[in-house]
């Protein structure tokens, strides 16, 4: 049984939002049905993520989702699991400029961190139509442009593969008593449920901000924090709130907030164009001013999710800061040459600023203080399969 599922008698009375440190440690051998209520792994100050109406999150559902997430049998080559582009130590990103799918297929986008992904009202870098994790999960599994897990046309074989596994033979009926077989519905619901538990709110910044542990942040990080929240740099205009993003939906917000920005990363030929295959929101709307607009990423755990931007084209946080200081990136030559600052669709809040090397170091230290080591090592989020199991024996991981 996963640590997430450790539930004590007081949980029966105390609702599902107990802070982490108030969870009773004892386990309950014979679990009453009421204990199937799921307890979010999060502090009391944060509202839980919204959950689609047709889903009841239970420990069994989350556990099934975790097994699926790490199972390379969900791919055409038997080597590509969700985790193959979303590794826990990297806050569920992959350290590469863009993802790599089945048969070594090079992807189009930087694999985004899944930190707090359940609070994102839209998923992926720019697709406004992916509004649930369940719907989005279909793309890596069945998409062909690019192939990620390569299962297009393979679903019956996939369902049979999963049904033959002894764990799944029990886990699907436990999670879905009314619909006990692996199918598109059950697989995507379980994957979504697990991903909603990937909640990271215990960084040094959180300990200093929410728990009064001022020493949790270094002096450099605190100087960087002052810069981050100052109007000279304007970082907080888009990277705001609990997620450090202007995209947010919680169980207590009245409606989702979506925001996409062109940060002046490209301006090919002075036309405002971005490289083909990475046009941002424009790809979905065809509206000229949507060129290069991408969803604001959360900055939580950002120090472990390099390289940066939708195409992984900036290697380090220092370079990202210099990009914003310049108010856009100038590429002097080559097929992508252009002055990003002059991109006609650049967001009006990307204005540029002057910053010293020492201030860049401080700001970087602040961004590093958003790294939640507990999240990167929490066994509740780790590979549940034993080493050498068919689920992971052939699995390719970004860090090996």
């Amino acid at each position: 049984m996963a640590p997430l599922l450790i539930l004590g008698a007081s949980a029966v009375l105390a609702a599902v939002f107990l802070p982490r440190d108030e969870v009773p440690a004892e386990t309950v051998a014979a679990r009453p049905a009421i204990l199937d209520a799921f307890r979010w792994p999060m502090p009391a100050w944060m509202p839980p993520p919204p959950v689609p109406d047709d889903i009841t999150v239970t420990p069994d559902l989350v556990d099934l989702g975790r097994h699926l997430f790490y199972d390379a049998r969900l791919s055409v080559d038997g080597q590509t699991a969700c985790a193959s582009c979303h590794q826990q130590e990297l806050a569920f990103s992959d350290g590469r400029p863009v993802g790599v799918g089945a048969h070594g297929t090079i992807g189009h986008r930087n694999s985004p961190s899944l930190t707090n992904v359940g609070y994102m009202p839209t998923l992926t870098w720019a697709n406004p139509h992916f509004t649930t994790l369940e719907f989005q999960a279909l793309v890596p599994m069945f998409g062909t442009e690019p192939v990620e897990m390569g299962l297009a046309g393979q679903e019956e074989a996939l369902f049979a593969r999963l049904a033959a596994d002894p764990y799944y033979a029990e886990a699907f009926p436990a999670a879905f008593p009314e619909r006990p077989a692996p199918d598109l519905y059950t697989i995507t619901r379980a994957l979504g449920a697990f991903q909603r538990t990937l909640i990271s709110l215990n960084s040094p910044y959180d300990r200093a901000t929410y728990y009064g542990e001022a020493d949790a942040m270094s002096d450099a990080a605190r100087r960087g924090q002052a810069l981050f929240f100052d109007h000279r740099l304007e970082c907080y205009h888009c990277h705001t709130g609990a997620l450090f993003s202007d995209n947010l939906q919680t169980a207590r917000t009245p409606f989702p907030e979506n925001a996409f920005h062109n940060t002046g990363l490209y301006n090919i030929g002075g036309t405002g164009a971005y490289p083909a295959g990475g046009l941002g929101l424009y790809e979905f709307t065809g509206v000229a001013s949507d060129m290069g607009r991408f969803r604001t990423p959360s900055l939580r755990n950002v120090a472990v999710t390099a390289p940066y931007m939708h195409d992984g084209s900036i290697a380090t946080l220092e370079e990202v800061i210099r990009h914003y200081a310049a108010g856009g990136r100038t590429i002097p030559d080559g097929p992508h040459a252009g002055a990003g600052h002059e991109n006609p669709y650049r967001d009006s809040l990307i204005t540029g600023f002057e910053i010293s090397d020492a201030e860049i170091a401080d700001l970087t230290a602040f961004l590093e203080s958003l790294t939640d080591q507990d999240f990167l090592t929490d066994p509740a989020f780790a590979d549940p399969w034993p080493d050498g199991h068919p689920a992971n024996a052939n699995r390719v991981m970004p860090l090996n």
Binding site: W45, F229, R252, H341, D347, S348, L349, T351
Partner: protein, 294 residues
């Protein structure tokens, strides 16, 4: 303690002698008298008579009182709707996420809804802004509408009381950047947007994430009095055109926030904050010109 609670309960049950009546106070957004829409362009704004589109149009109002026949101020008890109104604070949201309001929300809110005791009222007073007691709480844990990131400002500095954002457009439809209208040598481009963000400034606190213990040096809440307001007949009008009439919306002082974001280092606010009824550095407050009625 128990006795106190019982007494309090009895008082609540007894209730006021007069019944309450519902009130709905309508607001409308206009640009130099023309109805506001995210899909429209508006010519002649600011000292350079710039044509603009809008990126955003939202503001907080609070502490609304209707004025009774005997002159007493009667607080409007706002419906606690879990979305737009909390305590005596409401978010008015005129943008609908269409057109140039690209990062907005489809949801709009253009009225205050609540109750007052039965009676005859003439006159309305309220503040534009979030009261101090709510302004510097933790925005990440606040109830709606104080949990909408679009109105967050710099952590415990509080909220954007007013968020009205212009995007200058050239008559040709070309962007300002392409036309080269800029004196900003450092970055080579004029402003893409001219943002009016009103909020409290110079709020002394040890960190950005800790609240100030005393009132900010510049609270920047706008006091509005509309003595002729008639409930059921009048409409409150929010129109920023006169407020920014003295500002050149095609220019931004280098190394300052784009537009006027209330900060004391920003000369782009010199003509703007006074017309919101607020002193700004050496510039004295004038009558507020953002809010009127008809």
């Amino acid at each position: 303690m128990k006795r106190f609670l019982l007494a309090a309960t009895a008082a609540l049950v007894a209730g006021p002698a007069l019944a309450d009546m519902t009130v709905e106070i309508p607001f409308t957004a206009e640009i130099a008298g023309a109805p506001f829409a995210c899909t429209e362009s508006y010519a002649g704004l600011g000292s350079a008579e710039t044509e603009v589109q809008f990126l955003d149009f939202r503001l907080f109002v609070s502490s609304a009182n209707l004025i009774a026949a005997d002159g007493t101020r009667v607080p409007v008890a706002l419906d606690q709707d879990g979305a737009w109104q909390i305590e005596n604070i409401a978010l008015l949201d005129f943008e609908d996420g269409t057109g140039s309001c690209a990062n907005g929300t489809p949801q709009v809110n253009t009225t205050l809804r609540g109750t007052v005791p039965e009676g005859d009222y003439r006159g309305l007073e309220f503040e534009v802004g979030v009261p101090f007691d709510w302004n510097h709480g933790d925005p990440t844990t606040a109830p709606a509408p104080l949990n909408l990131t679009a109105m967050f400002w710099n952590w415990r500095g509080g909220y954007k009381f007013v968020k009205i954002e212009f995007s200058p457009t050239m008559p040709s439809g070309m962007s300002m950047a392409a036309e080269g209208h800029s004196e900003d040598a450092t970055h080579g481009q004029g402003p893409r947007g001219w943002m009016l963000h009103l909020g409290s400034t110079q709020c002394a606190a040890p960190e950005a994430t800790t609240p100030p213990s005393e009132a900010c040096a510049n609270p920047n809440r706008i006091a509005v009095a509309l003595p002729d307001f008639m409930p059921g007949e009048s409409t409150v009008v929010i129109d920023p055109a006169v407020v920014v009439a003295g500002a050149d919306l095609t220019q931004n002082t280098p190394e300052t926030s784009p537009g006027c974001m209330s900060f004391n280092n920003d000369p782009d606010c010199n003509t703007v904050l006074p017309r919101l009824g607020l002193a700004f550095n050496a510039f004295p407050a004038e009558e507020q010109m953002l809010v009127s009625m008809r």
